[in-house]
Amino acid sequence: MNAEVSPPVAGLRRPDGPAKLAGTARYVADVPAGDALVATMVCATVPRADRAVVDASAARRAPGVAAVLTADDLPPLRYEGAVGQSVLPMTDHVVRYEGQPVALVLADTGERSRHAADLVRVTYEGVRPVLAFADAEDTVESRPMMGPADHGTGDVARGLAEARTVVGATYTTSDRHHSPIEPSATLARWDGDRLTVHDTVQSVSATRAVLATAFGLEAEQVRVVCPFVGGGFGCKGYIWPHQVLTAAAARTAGRAVRLALTRAQMFTSCGHQPQTRQTVTLGADAEGRLTALRHHSVNATSRHHEYAEATTDACASLYAGPHIELRRRMRHTDRATPTPMRSPHEGPGLFALESAVDELAYAAGLDPLAFRLRNLPARDALTGAPFSTHELRACLERGAERFGWDRRAPEPRATREGDELVGLGMAALSLETHRSPSSARVRRTADGRVRVEAGTEEIGTGQPGVLATVAAEVLDVRPEDVEVVFGDSRLPVTSMTAGSSATMGVGSAVLLAARAVREKLAGGAEEAEAEASWGPQEGSDGLGRKDTMSVHAYGAVFVEVRVDALLGRVRVARCTGAYAAGRIINPLAARSQMTGGLTWGLGQALLERSRFDVEFGRFRSKNLAGYAVPVNADVPELDVFFVEDHDTYASPLGAKGIGELAPLGVSAAVANAVFHATGVRVRSLPIGIPDLLEGMPRD
């Protein structure tokens, strides 16, 4: 017997595929390092202390050790710009979070470097008690990055008074870690006052800027190289202390230095998605129209850095509502600093909102799909701005049709097959479209070959294929005839490969450059080269947003779960995602982005939770056995499709971002399906067997 063979989806096979499949694509840790010293970080094991006292005497005597650097040994460094947190460890002796580096061992081989790191003895003076999420106070950001912390329209109290049905509940999401399979790595080499760094980053240009600032150099004196990133998902976006410290160590040691974080260090060195606690109150009138929406949210952040999850804002593009009240808070706690993680903001936020909408639909006796269709907004419900495009209805209706939503029994706990309770759930979703300026260079030579150059990194989204396709279309060649050169700060500057913005930004720059080349060729030139930049409209903010237009990508996700009636074990049996995300450049790679994203949602729903140990002020399991991400067996066949959408307001390409779209709403759809299957409403993520067992009678 053989497994059924499904034909591949049409589209451009990745031009970066052969190198990745042959094992010859060089990630940072694969770059030949010559005589580079191997660095190992020694990290604090307490969350907060006045002073870490480092005894490196035994380590310094160990075989192969060139140096052990502590706060006493490093040059003055400025840590500013696109940095992950507000303090740079090892510039003083204070311990500000568990896992912060307190010493850096440099040795000739990995075995010797790691062993010497084991020999470093660290003691702590003035260890302070842990301030945990449950005990910390709500605070407001001093400089809100994601729009106002308090936002609203109308009068929610009035809206609730007008409602016939009101639901309100508190939802929680867990601390999660990005856990790319590639640990962050840095290889730094100085040549006089010029610095070359191979670094696992989502922006070579931002990394160059931070390093230049750190060492008081001009940008031109720093080169950052990173063609391939082995997954980032947000944790390689901002520039973290270990990257700067590695470059500083190389300068101090007078030799190239390379560092690869251990898996355990990945849990404290480059961010995480912080736990959130969200309260949603909704009201609906007799016709099933939303009369009031209140969404209050608070998330954990570190003691020294402001990071706020903008969980509350997606409602304005999903629902019409005259009365809305949104509030966003943080709590400073003893932990390493959080950072955006696929998907930030709407990711945790839509779990709460779309669970609450499901609860409201049941309470009002309405089908959850019908309820959403009844409440579609005509304009942004908060600002009144028109939508650039808004294909949510098409996503809901066509997704429901493909999924077979109309065959759903209205009552919960109504379907059983063998040992399993079967449930269907759905959620609507929207992703704010963030846009950033980028530039690119395009050249066509006399032999008809096209070369595209842009600083951008290939992180798995398929950027080389996207850029080849865009240039090929304009210049009327095959994508296979386009060479794309990327991943080097010497190439034209591009925005961060983050926030689902790269295709819009870099792709649009390539489009404009290719058009300029075409014009030159039309003028009779045999060869032509042009560089172009693209950025969001005049008057947009730092995230590419403009008040006069509401720009979002949309989707609807439908899930069937099967819950073991005796054991409470949840498995997702099938899933359909319908998306409106602007023009899709490469359907093959775009489908993979969406199925991958859905799996991120499944992980959020059912598996991913970094338990924070309040007593010791640390994440309890800093490994991939204790922090479970989905494996192949967790993931069913995933049905994804795109509805027609072409948003030339968002970008000249007509494209929008997709990478962070697909994880959205999945956790709510799963929770809603679990309720439909079992009658048990779980309001905390991930949904675990203990959550279900109590509410499930044994039968």
Binding site: V5, L21, A22, R263
Partner: protein, 169 residues
Amino acid sequence: MSTHSELPLLLTVNGEKREVPDCDVRATLLDVLRERLGLTGAKKGCDRGECGACTVHLDGRAVLSCLTLAASARGSEVTTVEGLAASDGTPHPMQEAFHTHDAFQCGFCTPGQLMSAIACVREGHAGSEAEIREWMSGNLCRCAAYPQIRAAVAEVAAVTAEGAEGEAR
């Protein structure tokens, strides 16, 4: 009985005899491949046997090179992703199928996935979609190309089975 803290290590890697004259006995097979033999295809994702990115074939079996002491692999035959293509450079059918089905994204786990996928077919665990799912679960893919990986494995399994039938005839 003689004990060693450094050993001369002789391996056959991708069909070639390779020698590491003074191998630290603490070194894992993964570190020897990457640091001493310049074969960086196998990746260090966790170094604790929790991700599968370091999967290689050791005497024909898929194993985790991060949990294999290089010294204990003395005299063994090792196949890494670099050894999959034919000598003329033609990709292995599994590499081709991964490309066609878009069974990878960032590519970092891909060498390990390929080694497991080839073992999965060879050992006869690709008989159904459910079986492939289970037998490919020792390799994490954070980009989550899982359905595409299954499609690639199923395709190669089907072609392999056809080939075997053809030979039988």
